[in-house]
């Protein structure tokens, strides 16, 4: 048998459970993930899981949000809006990986049902990413790339929305080409500075 599995320091244990959760998540996707499977993978008991989290959805949200090793969205600074956006969405924390779409698709049901969960998801996962995106647009606006009266809140949502739609509803793979296409065909033309939008793929 394995040598004595001692109760860990609180933070430690959570970390391992998060890791196990993300591992299972990546392997079978959200809806085929079961609590028993996570418990087994983490050599934990289900009681331990439910002691800390409200349920499967809460655990997954927490894991996806707080697991170590998960890439953080970083604010790139290429000096131009286009480069910043491509870097942000196609980087390590971007949407071109398979996992985010799988998780998002599976969570939607739960998000729609559970208000607490929905709030947690928005605050911990969405908000930081939207903030980074917003920051990118704000800087572009400062540089004069974006019209001063542009609606940054809406513009900042275009790319996430379209990536999510493509990845989940349309079931197509979200790659850099798609991201670039949205930027070039929708965002740059829409920011009302045609002179800076002449760059093409």
């Amino acid at each position: 048998m394995t040598p004595a599995q001692r109760p860990r320091v609180e933070g430690d244990r959570e970390e391992e459970i998060f890791a196990a959760t993300v591992r299972v998540l990546a392997e079978v996707g959200y809806d085929r993930l079961t609590m028993d499977q996570v418990a087994a993978e983490a050599r934990a008991s289900k009681a331990t899981l439910y002691r800390r989290w409200d349920g499967k959805a809460a655990l997954v949200v927490d894991a996806v949000t707080r697991a170590k090793g998960l890439p953080d969205p970083t604010v790139p600074d290429t000096g131009a809006l286009r480069g910043d956006l491509v870097g942000l969405f196609c980087g390590p924390a971007g949407v071109t990986e398979r996992l985010p779409m799988s998780v998002l698709g599976g969570l939607l049901t739960a998000l729609h049902t559970d208000e607490d969960l929905s709030a947690a998801w928005r605050e911990r996962f969405l908000a930081p990413r939207m903030a980074v995106s917003h920051e990118v647009f704000r800087r572009a606006q400062e540089r004069g790339e974006v019209s001063p009266d542009a609606d940054l809140e809406v513009l900042g949502t275009v790319l996430p929305s379209m990536c999510a739609f493509h990845g989940t509803v349309l079931g197509r793979h979200v790659d850099e080409e798609f991201v670039a296409r949205v930027i070039d065909e929708v965002l740059l033309p829409a920011i009302r500075r045609p002179d800076t939008a002449t760059s093409d793929t």
Copy 2:
């Protein structure tokens, strides 16, 4: 004890089951809908449901797709892109109703898992709606409202994407004001004919 067991015409039974499915769907939402409930509502047996459909998701997709009485997306013709889009998205088959978002959110899990189902969903539900949307843009292009070299495929996806994102992921209500905002702040500026995009809210 058999209340009016009328002879069933070809496909009659399906109609009734679809109706019952949509009824339950509207009442409790996708994830709280159970096959037993649908069976009871339709005075059908579960065997009948499973004989025709692979499961809950397949039944719901079929029902949402083929049930009589569901509003069809119609091509409005107001003579201007903005009016057409508002009419399309805020009309009876639009996205401002509560049902479509509830259903969409619940289905995504299943869509992600089952390829057949996903295909059916795209072909029967999405494709017609996307076609209508595309048609609206095509006519606007003919009228000269939209630049001839605009990427209609991407532009036509902007509004559905953003409505779906707002309604499901962000959990906000999608109303006419939001639709108008997206049109005015993103779409019209992006179509590269600033002279026709001067209309404001």
Copy 3:
């Protein structure tokens, strides 16, 4: 397609259905026999089966009772009780075959539940066999082999009872050796004429 399946004369059709029933019965036993299987085997529709019989049990009872080709219990006459009994129970209509026990075991549930069925079973299947058995004892009594005040009703039930018990409850195979043993160790000693019971195996 199969060539025209014309409606048959009533008795004819029943005969074929009985044959199919017995065929299926012999193959899979009573409890694994399904009405669909019988219908398919007989190229009949289930409606036809249920038009004539009350259900599975009734059909099987009727088939086992009235199917052509099934051996009838015949009254042997060897001049001695022992020979008559062995001939009766180990002959073609005897209990040493596999089918009767399989059928009997399966029917018991239904017999216990349905009074009509139970009556039919007793009248059509049991009664004739018991009558033959009784006749054998009566003749032995006339010959003086059996005491005049012996209780023929009980004695006549000993062998069927014990064969049924061995075959169904104890799950052992009923063969000629067992029949002979019961006759020699129980019946003959019990008929109160020790002088005629000295014959041993």
Copy 4:
């Protein structure tokens, strides 16, 4: 065969489930007993039932075999074979109660199909009872009531067989009168000691 598992208390839960099973069994009989009903009666979940038992038949066999409060066959000792047999078969664990026949009839189908079940039934239910019966005969033989060369195995089966046959196949009620009749008309005459068999009803 159950591996030493640990419910709340060792075997506690099983006891309750057995009790519920026997209760339902006595109320509606074997074939109208459903697993859901037992689960409800025992406030158990079906999963619990199926975790421990293979199905309805296995549960019932186990319950009838191991439930506390069920009367055990006890070896009476009246000093005479006749009294012992009447006491054994008409006592609290005897065959004159309604339940045993109802259960036996219902189980036969399953016993015939499932070999494991059949073995369990024979070992746990039949064997102890047959052993008691055999013991009664053995003592009678020691006392000289029964001929030393009598076939006790067969003789011990006569009464169970005939009671089972009467109760299930013939559908007649098995009462003390019938038991006495079999003893007096078959068994006592057959034991080859006419001098001790002169006792009449």
